[in-house]
Amino acid sequence: MAPLTDENRWRRVVEECFRREAGAHSAILDPAQDLIETGVLDSMGWVSFLRALESATGLNELGALLVERRPSFESIFQAFKAAQIASPSPETDLPRASHFARGTAVFIVSSSAVVGSRRIPSEEVDRAFGMPPGKLRSRAGIESLAYAAEDENELTLGARAAQQALHFAECGVPELDWIIATSETHRVYPSLAAQLHSQLLARENCGALDVGGACLGLVNALAVAQGLIASGQAQTIAVITSDVHSRTFKPSQVAGEFAGLFGDGASAFLLRTKNGAAPQQAYALGEFFFGCAGQYAGAIRVADAPNGNLEVHFDGEALSRAAITRLEKVVREIELRSGIDRSSLQGLATHQPNPRLVTILAKQCSLPEEKFPIVAKSFGNLGSSTCGVALDALLRSAQGQMAKQLGPLFIASLGPGLLSVEDGSPPRSSSHRSQGCDL
């Protein structure tokens, strides 16, 4: 989030959070008025309002600062000021001091995506898992799935994506300071990052790091990469996702209603600071925010069974509800934090558990479905690579467009245990634009 450097910005955040609770057309009361006594909010709404403010401002102790205070706007502004006095920061007036706020922009200078080279009609997958033909198409909206060929695996798909990304950026492998890999299916050692390091022939002192998170692995990895670059520990990082579900979810081991949704794919992104020779037009990473929605812990559980099979507990209805509710909340949250209206977006690279959910999400967000690149419909749910393939598609579609025509991108994902993680690309900034970079 951009720093809340002036009172008007504070006011905008407070008013937006308030209207979420009290209703979009609620009048803003006199600052001194008691919001509960006047009946504008009840105690549930007051706490909900404060939680939204805590999340939007990073001032996690706002609720604690308001004990024995009147529930009013005035008290909230006083608490903001008290927090500012307690921990003054030269660059931000509220505790959220992101890399972005400090002016260390990290750019995605190139990207690439590959999917398994076998394209399987979903009816064939239905049959393989003993389901009535047409079930995946009619229930989930999946038309076909991308499956890895015999000679393809996480390493080959990931390496191919990485080599393409390096090629597009005209970046030599020796320039890499880190390779950060994520996969929800690679479970052997050497780890995927280490294997990619060898496969790509990176420098020996280039780090290799594996990041978890399953379907939100890409967002985790991008956040780690951003931190390494922003802290000055790296200049160039390759973030690589690769998932081959077709070998993990075999018909004899896992129920088709779950396993049939997944395909195989990989993606790669090359990240650099602006000093690291970013091309003329590149997207900068904005602020990430993360969370964990523990109330959905019962919706999905995957564990190793003693017989070598996977034990999958999968409540599809609860998961769908969780995915839609959370992703929609997340989009709203990114809007609030970044100040970017969703209508101005170039597109959204979200996780796509299945195409039906993308349709519902688009509807809930009042956005045209075209803002969400087609991934799951053609390739299936690619795990951590779903967001990657979607992001690559958006970046590719942006190429060749005039910088002024480009809108920001949002990335949002959910993973098992339903962590929710998001990245709001920051609003266009004149200082960055003057250097030829589009945000």
């Binding site: 404060l50 939680r51 609720g63 604690a64 308001l66 529930p71 812990a297 019962g298 509710t325």
Partner: protein, 237 residues
């Protein structure tokens, strides 16, 4: 006459909501005595653990508050049951270990903010006991909120705490006469000693309840937290 073991006394604005346990053959179930004209009691001079004799008439209360019974005459105290024994009885009444089992329905996340709610016609009851793996109390502005983990691993956040005794305890901790830094001292207590005193107690147990429909939603709340707070704990912080 009905014999009722009082297990819950919760705050409802200026009034109290009361729930007790009633034995019915080999079953123990929750019953909520209400007055003929209201769901709550402005004056209820009894404590949890009191066994009261009363007359309760069936009452077709709105779902999900199927436990409502109209009290047709006064209460008469018969005996008192110690706290650990109350919990023993509560563990034999309505109990569940996971979110969907609590009220036999889907609990929805508040799309706009915090809290969980049910749709009024869906729950099969409005009160249920459960074990927790962890529990934290927190003051958010002037509201007492609980965050807890069920034995299923599901996490419930920002539940309003309506337990009268815990609310009174927090109120007493913040009384002006207790000197400086009261809020900080209370927060320290809730972040440290509370954990040892409550979670390590052998009869630690909670009951979750649903509010009456409010704007067509029944919100989840923490009705009861055992052990009950002890007045002498106030001396420790």
């Amino acid at each position: 006459m009905t014999k009722l073991l009082i297990t819950e006394i919760t705050r409802m604005g200026p009034a109290f909501c009361v729930i007790g346990l009633q034995r019915e053959k080999d079953k123990i179930r929750s019953v909520r005595p209400v007055t003929a004209g209201a769901n709550s009691w402005l004056h209820f001079p009894y404590q949890r653990g009191d066994v009261l004799q009363c007359e309760l008439a069936p009452f077709s209360g709105a779902k999900p508050h199927i436990e409502d019974r109209v009290s047709t005459c006064g209460f008469q105290k018969e005996a008192t049951v110690p706290e650990p024994e109350i919990v023993t009885f509560l563990r034999k009444a309505e109990i569940a270990g996971s979110l969907p089992d609590l009220f036999g329905c889907v609990l929805h996340e508040n799309k706009r903010g915090s809290g969980l709610h049910a749709l009024p016609l869906e729950p099969k009851r409005s009160i249920c006991g459960t074990e927790t793996k962890n529990l934290r109390l927190e003051l958010c502005a002037n509201e007492l909120r609980a965050t807890l983990v069920l034995s299923s691993g599901e996490v419930l956040r920002d539940l309003p705490v309506v337990d009268r005794d815990w609310r009174d305890f927090i109120g007493a901790a913040l009384v002006e006469g207790r000197g400086a830094n009261r809020i900080a001292r209370l927060e320290r207590f809730l972040n440290s000693q509370f954990h040892y005193k409550v979670l390590s107690c052998p009869h630690h147990f909670i009951r979750l309840g649903l509010t009456r429909p409010y704007h067509d939603l029944c919100w989840l709340m923490l009705d009861t937290l055992f052990p009950l707070p002890k007045h002498e704990w106030l001396e420790e912080f």
